[in-house]
Point group: C2
Chain length 213, copies 2
């Protein structure tokens, strides 16, 4: 893999989508694909696709197209999906449970090792065979098990405090679902997921369609 330092965040955000479509193609037994065919499938322009993939040295051959398996493996490696990550979930409410149950993460190398909660009624139960433990013991657990990622499924008010504790304990990344932007020290990566933002985009597009009629 050719190392490149100045890949924009916009390109990085498109890579998981490329990867998903390549996986579907692999499942259908497709070996190679041209940027034009890929364009029709994925909904980006062919020139956008070529430009994006050139960031990584480009994997296509003139007149041949892209190797589906090769491109899939390269993108997986770029994203760091060729290794395993250990995760803990904080908050065992519906959202925490939904994430604990999404078994396709595990296949992709993201393993949920524990769920932490302050509500005593939930401590001790198992969700998808993962034990719900007392939040009091989280620092020790993260240290002992070399946890890489903390998933925050708490309320908005608790989120930053939980983030601080997880960073202190030594996680390298936070995946935050609480509806607030969390801040981390520069050594810890953060993805703030604001589910409602996509609902607001949806409202915009619905009204746009109506106006155009």
């Amino acid at each position: 893999m050719k190392k490149q330092d100045k890949i924009s965040n916009a390109v990085i955000k498109r890579l998981p989508r490329y990867r998903r479509y390549l996986k579907e193609l692999q499942k259908k037994g497709v070996d190679k694909i041209s940027s034009n065919e890929f364009s029709r499938l994925i909904g980006y322009t062919a020139s956008q696709i070529r430009q994006d993939l050139n960031n990584f040295g480009g994997f296509g051959q003139q007149g041949y197209g892209y190797s589906v398996e090769g491109l899939y493996n390269e993108i997986s490696a770029i994203l760091g999906l060729d290794r395993q990550y250990k995760m803990v979930i904080v908050g065992a409410g519906n959202l925490g449970q939904a994430i604990a149950n999404h078994t396709y993460y595990y296949k992709a190398g993201f393993v949920v090792c524990g769920i932490f909660e302050i509500n005593p009624r939930l401590i001790g139960i198992k969700i998808n065979d993962i034990e719900v433990m007392d939040y009091e013991n989280i620092v020790q657990f993260v240290e002992d098990n070399n946890i890489d990622i903390g998933i925050i499924c708490t309320t908005k008010d608790a989120a930053q405090e939980v983030a601080d504790k997880l960073c202190f304990a030594g996680v390298r990344g936070l995946w935050n679902f609480a509806p607030v932007d969390i801040e981390t020290p520069s050594r810890v990566a953060i993805e703030n997921v604001h589910i409602s933002d996509s609902l607001h985009s949806l409202a915009y597009h619905m009204n746009k369609i109506r106006e155009e009629k």
Copy 2:
């Protein structure tokens, strides 16, 4: 509001974030803000902010800055958040329940009117005071109640079929959480939410930080 037709999707995707920060400022009693101050807060460059907001005619005044309340209301209107939307959820598993419980949607004008399920053990229960009904009756319910948005919280395999039924019944938008890109007729807006994409971006940034050390 000045009507503009060629606003890029990238700008639209940033508007909900502007709106969230403006709401926080309002809560803190801030009346006005310069693009430079806003830049430090939200993490976009000041020129990006000015450029984005100019798409809508611009609401700032030279030497004064933006009116926090004015800008908040304008962005809300642009996104179509100054009216109410009626929604149904399909799938009463953890994810469907998590969304039904996120009461802050309701405050923002997005009302969940019903949840639909095929699993007979879940039909009849209430989640956050919303009844779980038999999926067999969904078309009638959507028609009778003028439902605007269908939220898909089913498995990957069921998602497109559910989408087709919701479109047939007359929804104007679909918010899809199943891990597959759904297709809709051009009269129906669609937001496919791929939660795992952000997990993959997180993995990339974690490895990037490690490499830089």
